[in-house]
Symmetry: C2
Subunit: 301 residues, 2 copies
């Protein structure tokens, strides 16, 4: 079976794994990334890490996931809070040069997680998968026939800005009533803080209270599932995916909101569509696996 | 250049054209379809019509568009108000047998129009096109790299059911606040009848009044562009298409609503996405051209 290397490059650590075409992790190593030391240092760290993986020379191509905006065609980082010294640096070209000329591709970590879940995780075996991640923000990605749909501006999947209610105020650069402002972890935390207890620090505290039938917490969760079901219904009607996969930190509270979310979402579809599944993400390493799968499915334009 | 036959089969007429790979109509004939005389009669009418097209023998494949629900894999009609005697009849198989064994494919007329506009009309030259038709109902289709995205249930593009407001009542099988109930031709007509003049028969009468600054007519058009801009914004965020094409009978009133619709839609996107275009459909024969293009791009599963 063909093999690939997947890399997750963050501001603190970089992790690299050898992964087979089924998305199984065969070996994984990590080290400190120290991006403040500059792009060449990071390249050296990555190259040493890849070389340290047993049988890495069998990998056909290498994918890197980073938390930032990517120029897909150039293979460069356009913006990344924790990797500012790598912006506009020819990262994929340099790495390819150091790694026997193998193909190196760069992806946003959210897109990488989506392709990981679609091809090797909860969406495996489906022709079209829509991945939605709910954490501090809400984002997503469509994976159709094994390829991430980038869209004209690379914004396909930026569904956090979708207008889903007339209830909430306008926040930041988001639309008034955007699902990210009503149903993200940040939004649930903010509502908990405002409406339940000023000491609330994260969404889990609201979910805990909801599990104990706290009235206002239940109301906040109810608003969240109203908003998310509108989002998921819109996704289903626009592309009718085989399956929708939900990931992100907020899924820790899935027990509290998934049953209601599934029911509301299905009620907002045409009857003939209601057999479609909404499933939680399941990979331990979606970014790394997705980066490898991205390298596997990437095609020269 | 390769050639194809496109056919538009309706309850009254059937039209057939020879079309080249650029989507240009080289020859077009029509006759009465008389579907009440049965499926075999309709096959004979279609075969005679195709044979009457000059140089039709050069066509590689044949596409048929019908106003109804299709079983794509079987090549049969599952439901069609005006073609009930053709339901479950092996239409593509029979036609292929009568037309020298050439490939015959069947499409819903809305999907056919979408692929026609995407490949040969207002979307030509773009990698991804979302087509939205606004007439009695609201529907659509995504065409990505030349292929119509069908979706799990064939419902990709059935965006008329998308929830876009909290204002309107619930109608028929649609969601409360569905865009079809707030912004279709039927909806604009209903609102005109209820809020302006009980004698109003079609949306054009509301648009005419709006053009003359009639206050309530302007309000109805304002609601329509609010709702449609939410729909189009959702489409852009879900798949970020290169272009959105608007078709359907309501486009006769485009002068009255398109400027405001464009502005509201763009304001509901991320700033970096606002260069994307919203363009009116432009083919005279989208169904016929689309049927031919569908035959051209169709692939055996």
């Amino acid at each position: 079976m063909k093999k690939y290397v997947g890399i997750d490059l963050g501001g603190t650590n970089v992790r690299a794994a050898l992964i087979n075409a089924e998305g199984e992790v065969l070996a994984l190593n990590k080290s400190a990334s120290n991006p403040e030391k500059g792009a060449e240092h990071v390249v050296k760290v990555i190259v040493d890490l890849v070389r340290s993986l047993p049988n890495q020379e069998e990998a056909e191509a290498i994918g890197i996931a980073v938390p930032g905006l990517i120029d897909v065609e150039q293979g460069t980082i356009k913006a990344a809070n924790n990797l500012s010294k790598l912006v506009d640096y020819p990262l994929t070209e340099k790495l390819s040069g150091e790694l026997d000329g193998r193909r190196v591709v760069l992806a946003n970590d959210g897109k990488a997680a989506a392709i990981g879940e679609a091809l090797a995780g909860a969406g495996k075996g489906n022709e079209s998968v829509y991945y939605v991640t709910i954490s501090t923000g809400i984002g997503g990605a469509a994976v159709i026939q094994g390829k991430v749909l980038m869209g004209r501006h690379g914004f396909a999947g930026e569904v956090g800005n979708m207008i889903v209610n007339e209830r909430d105020s306008q926040y930041g650069i988001m639309n008034k009533g955007a699902v990210e402002s009503g149903a993200s972890g940040t939004a649930v935390t903010r509502k908990g803080k405002e409406r339940i207890d000023a000491s609330i620090q994260h969404a889990g505290e609201v979910f805990e209270r909801a599990a104990q039938h706290h009235e206002e917490a239940l109301k906040i969760v109810d608003e969240m599932t109203d908003d998310l079901s509108n989002l998921l219904s819109a996704i289903s009607l626009v592309i009718d995916p085989d399956v929708i996969v939900l990931g992100g930190g907020v899924m820790k509270g899935a027990d509290v909101f998934m049953p209601a979310l599934r029911e509301k979402w299905r009620s907002k579809l045409f009857e003939a569509m209601r057999d479609v599944e909404l499933v939680p993400a399941k990979l331990d390493e979606p970014g790394i696996v997705g980066a490898a799968m991205y390298a596997m499915t990437w095609e020269e334009k």
